[in-house]
């Protein structure tokens, strides 16, 4: 039988612990990461009185792990949403977006074309071109800036992550060392701090935890990679691609060599990488749209005559793009093939040099390099017409050299309007047709279009851009007795005859020789122009084709330029007009953001739910602690009373013995 004093003492001590736990809870009510502690008093197996006390954290480990997952989700969608939203505003806003620029450009073409000799209207068109170029440059450089900023954020996030990993590892060490003091509040609070660090880390990456018996918690990525071990922790670093110094990757080390890590780590870090690749895609697509418009207008301008009777030139530049490489002995540049902009996909290409002077060309589709073609390297210039670009090599190539060709990424930054004089806009066609004034029929001749003015057409362009028809070009059409259309050249040699059944339409394309074979394999290339005759023709009627010298009132080439607005110029899965392509781009960015927003809202709601559950289990409820405080005080007073009772007993005993 224990004595009253001992019983009372054990009670007092136990309730003292209970009180201190409760007051600890109350003081820590606003502490971040604090888990409510509760003390259990166990029965005494040996004697009367209280047994041992054990203080533990009230924690729902399932909920804790759930919160880690939720944090990562929220961080991931949040970063995607906010990284894209600047670009979204830029693209959608009518002042900074490209949509109104495109329509203004075509409207200026229309008004300049309705009065082709007016220099004032032409000046306005030049102004519209400048505005368009400026907008594309601004958009492109803003996207690039956003991208570089996101790279910066990646670097900062990696630094923060490394600090956290270090912190977790250090805390784990201390916890393992102090395992002996298993129930002291300070030990529990160390665990709280470590758990807080883990929770903060989960914002940045998607992680899983594994509890160890020693009290330490190991941390892994959900994709499997271990970050914090018993005897060390990993440090992450940013790896810069050797081919593209704006492309970041991840690598990690345990103190020795670095191993690369896939970038889909979830959380904010994963979100930044995802946002980067989205931004790059937007920039590529923007470059592709600008390139297609510039190239089409250039090509059309080349088929016309300017106000100075010269053949038209380029309106916009298609600048040479630099190519990054791993080679130490050779450099490469990339040029666009004029007229083949419809073949540009907007993807990047990898050019690798193999043994025996061979090459392999890969296309980057959805982040993976897919082999497209191989061949031998002949000379210093290679043309890839089906991809729309050509490359030229300087220096000597070595085996395993790699070159990254990025056609459209930088295009928006470097593209510019090259035309400076309003007279250089070529709205008139290069050739015109006339009927002979002595014709008895009422037929008229109209130009279908000029499709080719290059060296393989019937035109010759000299160094000063003056154009002339070759002597063997078809320049005269005479109607014979059977209403066939005979075509002669400048020296009156018969080139061929278009039969009466053609009704005078597309004379050059339908021209046959005496044997009935087509004279021109492809009238669009040679002679590069075609005419149609409509109306009644009489025998002997003749029509002549000549250069449209001084024909400034003609606006047929300008009309073809206007038609480019409705033409499906941009190739892809579906062919689209320039405007449609741009609104599709804006829609795509908007969809990405909308999806991210919806997911973010869902993730936040889930996170709130988990947090609330967590709070309800582990959070400090002041009301509960207040009533506990009152209760434990009473218990303490009651136990203290036992001691005073013991004293009274002892005093009485002493008093009884006299």
């Amino acid at each position: 039988m224990a004595d009253l004093l001992a019983i009372g003492t054990s009670g007092v001590l136990a309730h003292q612990t209970l009180l201190s736990t409760t007051s600890n809870n109350i003081s820590n009510v606003s502490t971040e990461g604090y888990y409510r502690q509760s003390t259990q008093v166990y029965t005494n197996n040996i004697n009367q009185g209280c047994g041992r006390t054990e203080t533990t954290r009230v924690i729902d480990t399932y909920n804790q792990r759930e919160l880690l997952r939720d944090n990562a989700q929220v961080g991931y969608y949040d970063t995607i949403k906010s990284s894209l939203s600047t670009i979204d505003t830029l693209l959608s806003d009518s002042a900074t977006g490209l949509s109104s620029s495109i329509t203004d450009l075509f409207a200026s073409i229309q008004s300049a074309n309705s009065n082709p000799t007016s220099v004032a209207n032409r000046n306005e068109l030049l102004g519209s071109c400048e505005t368009f170029v400026n907008k594309v440059n601004t958009l492109s450089s803003n996207i690039e800036q956003e991208y570089l900023d996101t790279n910066q954020k990646i670097e900062e996030t990696v630094a923060t992550i490394n600090q956290l990993l270090d912190g977790i590892y250090t805390m784990n060490q201390q916890i393992a060392k102090g395992a002996g003091q298993g129930d002291s509040s300070s030990y529990l609070q160390m665990m709280d701090e470590r758990d807080r660090l883990i929770s903060e880390l989960s914002n940045y990456m998607d992680i899983k935890t594994v509890k160890q018996d020693s009290g330490a918690t190991l941390v892994n990525l959900t994709s499997g990679q271990t970050l914090v071990l018993n005897d060390g922790c990993a440090q992450l670093a940013v790896s810069v691609s050797s081919l593209d110094d704006s492309e970041y990757g991840l690598k990690f080390t345990y103190g020795g060599q670095y191993t690369s890590l896939k970038t889909d780590v979830g959380g904010k870090l994963g979100g930044y990488f995802e946002a980067c690749s989205n931004l790059k895609k937007v920039q590529s697509q923007l470059g592709k749209i600008a390139l297609t418009l510039a190239d089409s207008l250039n090509q059309q301008n080349k088929n016309g005559l300017t106000l100075e009777n010269k053949v038209g030139g380029d309106i916009f530049t298609l600048p040479t793009q630099n190519v990054t490489s791993t080679s130490t002995t050779a450099t490469m540049t990339m040029d666009f093939i004029p007229g083949k902009s419809s073949n540009i996909t907007g993807n990047d290409y990898l050019f690798t040099v193999g043994a025996g002077n061979t090459y392999t060309l890969y296309e980057k589709i959805d982040g993976e390099f897919v082999e497209k073609e191989t061949g031998n390297i002949t000379g210093n210039n290679l043309t890839f017409e089906e991809y729309g670009f050509s490359i030229s090599i300087n220096g000597t190539l070595a085996t395993n050299d790699k070159f990254l060709v990025q056609p459209t990424i930088d295009f928006g930054n470097t593209f510019d309007a090259i035309i400076t004089h309003p007279e250089d806009l070529a709205f008139a066609s290069v050739v015109r047709g006339s009927q002979n004034s002595q014709n008895q029929g009422n037929a008229t001749i109209a130009l279908n279009g000029v499709t080719n003015t290059d060296a393989n057409s019937a035109f010759t362009i000299d160094a000063q851009d003056r154009i002339s028809l070759n002597t063997d070009a078809p320049t005269k059409i005479v109607v014979d007795d059977n209403a066939n259309y005979q075509v002669y050249d400048a020296n009156n040699n018969l080139i061929g005859t278009a039969p009466q059944s053609t009704n005078g339409q597309n004379i050059m394309a339908n021209l046959v020789d005496a044997g009935g074979n087509l004279v021109f394999a492809d009238a669009a290339t040679y002679p590069g122009y075609d005419f149609s005759i409509s109306g009644v023709v009489k025998t002997g009627d003749s029509f002549s084709i000549e250069l449209n010298t001084d024909g400034f009132a003609d606006n047929s080439n300008g009309i073809l330029m206007q038609d480019l607005e409705q033409a499906k110029l941009v190739q892809g899965q579906t062919n689209r007009t320039i405007s449609e392509s741009y609104s599709a781009l804006v829609s795509d960015v908007g969809t990405d953001i909308k999806v991210a927003t919806i997911n973010y809202d869902a993730a936040v709601a889930k996170q709130e739910q988990t947090k609330t559950l967590n709070e309800s289990v582990s959070g400090v409820n002041l009301d509960e602690e207040a009533s506990n405080l009152v209760r434990f005080q009473q218990c303490y007073s009651a136990s203290a009373k036992i001691i005073s009772a013991a004293q009274t007993v002892f005093d009485s005993l002493l008093g009884a013995m006299g």
């Binding site: 008004s111 309705s114 609104s583 908007g590």
Partner: protein, 386 residues
């Protein structure tokens, strides 16, 4: 409270801008549709402007051509008035002077310029005049067959100019024939003769006939192309004229003495501008050495030529009128489409003002309630009472 605040801000933004969404992130398909519709609306407004310009240009052309038509009508009347045997050289001089004035007016009108200094009838080379007067007094046309077009709808192009080459220069002049042998030709009815030549003449084939008069006076008019007999009849000694399709073939000589033969060759049909035709008549009226018969011939030819020119211009006026009414229809349909597109765009992207104000008030209330309950809920703890 936070959520209430967010919703209030969104409603306020909607009310202030009148738009349902500002960025594509809020409504991707809506933004895509809105951008597309805006582009189309802008294009259609440009088409309206173009249609206005086209109407103006065609209006100018119509005015010029109508005036020319009227003056040409006047010219024909003046020419007719000169066909009067009682007139003397002073009368002819008066008619010639008034014809000259009409000629100058027509010359001016054929060189009509726009306000920018472009000649509307010159085809592609609009900086040079359509008709020029040469040193020898004749007029030639410098225009080519070019024309200008204007887009008034995505696939509708309206021609806004006509070339003087087809309008002025390609006017048919009277056909003629040459006789060799025992006969000569004169013309009784130019219209009939012109019609015959237009249908018969073929530049790739033989265009001559032979008239054979036998000793008994019977004649045959044989086509050398296929040997067919076009006309036959009998001549008498006091009627040696064969009338064939407006052509008078006067045989000379005595057929009783021997067969007579003459070859008639149709001259190649020609076109010339009406300024030259009028010039010819003026010169003939002033020529004192010309006989009355010749003068009458020239006047007859002149009238036929001018009538042909009138027909040309009339056709052109018809085309221009057709184009103008076409433009009007296209403009109307463009406007209707534009209204529909504006409406669609408004439905997609703009807010209903009443709805927005209602929303705004609702959110304000919600925020107030949230704020009040917040203070009640977090205000009291047990510690206040122990």
């Amino acid at each position: 409270m936070q959520q209430s605040n967010e919703r209030l801000e969104k409603a306020s933004a909607q009310y202030n801008t009148g738009l349902k969404f500002q960025t594509a992130g809020e409504d991707p398909t809506g933004m895509g549709n809105k951008l597309r519709l805006e582009a189309e609306i802008a294009t259609y407004s440009q088409y309206s402007i173009n249609a206005g310009l086209a109407s103006d240009a065609l209006g100018l052309e119509e005015t010029a051509l109508s005036s020319m038509y009227e003056i040409l009508g006047n010219v024909v009347i003046q020419m007719q008035s000169a066909v009067n045997g009682t007139l003397d050289s002073y009368n002819f001089e008066a008619i010639a002077t008034s014809l000259e004035e009409s000629l100058n007016l027509l010359f001016d009108l054929s060189n009509t310029k726009t306000a920018d200094g472009e000649y509307i009838f010159s085809g592609s080379q609009s900086l040079q005049p359509t008709m020029v007067k040469n040193q020898d007094g004749s007029y030639s046309c410098q225009a080519d067959a070019g024309f200008r077009q204007v887009k008034v709808a995505p696939s509708v192009k309206v021609t806004t100019s006509d070339s003087g080459l087809a309008l002025f220069e390609q006017c048919q002049v009277c056909r003629s024939a040459t006789a060799t042998g025992d006969g000569n030709v004169s013309y009784s009815n130019y219209s009939d003769f012109n019609t015959f030549v237009n249908s018969y003449y073929n530049s790739a084939q033989d265009n001559t006939f032979t008239v054979n008069v036998a000793t008994d006076g019977s004649y045959e008019l044989v086509s050398n192309r296929d040997g067919s007999i076009l006309q036959e009849g009998t001549l008498t000694s006091d009627n040696m004229t064969i009338s064939f399709k407006g052509l008078e073939i006067n045989m000379e000589g005595d057929f009783t003495l021997g067969a007579l033969q003459t070859d008639i060759t149709l001259d190649p049909p020609a076109n010339d501008n009406f300024l030259n035709s009028i010039s010819t008549v003026i010169n003939a009226l002033r020529d004192e050495n010309m006989s009355q018969d010749e003068l009458m011939q020239v006047l007859a030819q002149g009238q036929v030529n001018i009538n042909n020119a009138k027909e040309n211009i009339n056709n052109a006026l018809g085309h221009v009128g057709g184009r103008l009414s076409n433009i009007e229809q296209v403009v109307n349909s463009n406007n209707a489409l534009n209204v529909i597109k504006e409406e669609t765009k408004a439905n997609i992207s703009e807010v209903d003002v009443y709805e927005t104000v209602e929303n705004l008030l609702k959110e304000q209330n919600a925020l107030n309630v949230a704020q009040q309950t917040f203070s009640v809920v977090t205000g009291s703890t047990l510690f206040d009472y122990i």
